[in-house]
């Protein structure tokens, strides 16, 4: 009833199912769950990405405002002249970071598993 090719199709199908299950349920996911906020090189706050809130960090140029939301974070406002860290927008994956160098403030995301040292686009 089952021919040789049928067995190979069944084996292929089982491999597809196993691959999808691994991918969906067991593969390390790189979603971030914590934001690390540094000022002048020292960690000032470590915030879980669960509660929406705004964190203000003072620096040499003024105050940097960091917005935390469910699963993501961004630098909302910063006194730096070129606004690079603000323009980066929302960060959501572990390893992503936004650096506001003139004001010496940085925002970095970490997850359950740190897959990369840093991510930038």
């Amino acid at each position: 009833m089952l021919r040789a090719g049928d067995w190979s199709v069944l084996a292929g199908g089982a491999a597809v199912v196993a691959g999808l299950a691994w991918q969906a349920w067991f593969a390390p996911n790189d979603a971030a769950d914590t934001a690390i906020i540094r000022a002048g090189g020292a960690i000032v706050r470590t915030v879980a990405l669960a509660q929406p809130q705004t964190v203000t960090v003072p620096g040499p140029l003024g105050v940097t405002r960091i917005e935390i939301a469910a699963g993501r974070a961004r630098v909302q406002a910063d006194p730096s002249p070129r606004q690079l860290c603000v323009k980066q927008g929302w960060l959501a994956r572990a390893g992503e970071a936004a650096l506001c160098l003139p004001n010496q403030v940085s925002l970095e995301l970490t997850g359950r598993r740190a897959a990369h040292d840093t991510l930038a686009y």
Binding site: D6, V9, G13, A24
Partner: protein, 183 residues
Amino acid sequence: MTRSRIELPVTADDRRIARLAALAVGLTLAEAALPSPVPGVKPGLANIVVLLVLLQYGWRAAAWVSGLRVLAGGLLLGMLFAPGFWLSAAGATASLALLAVARHLPERHFGPVSLSVLAAFAHVGGQLALAAAWLLPFAALIKLLPVFAAAALVFGTVNGLVVSRLLAAPNPDKRQSAPCLIP
């Protein structure tokens, strides 16, 4: 005044397709009554009919039966042109497209079970592709993908085994009564 009369000639092929499509529609309805733990996971019993038609009468007939099954099933279940109808149509289209290619696999090595499993995967794939493009964010579907794929594997295998059993059974159309030997 002349009376106009429109005649639609009905061939034996039409009758056969209608009969087989009615069978497929019946299975679809019966299946809709079965409770399912995960919405969308169904045995796909109508595919048994489609596969039998494919193997006995060719791809065109199978496409007709499958199309009529989706249309009439949608009508009878009251979901014609609703999302569920389009998902069903997408699955049927994808699985017919794959069967058009897969039926040329060497028959010596690949039996009905192969065709059934491949068609089931294509069916689920077509449905999920449409759902991802239209109804749900893809991230939400990823977690469900393995469930649907496993269902396709299991039900595809079972349906394929049923088809090969039915093909192996003697064909009632060609059955001949045994000559009575009177001593």
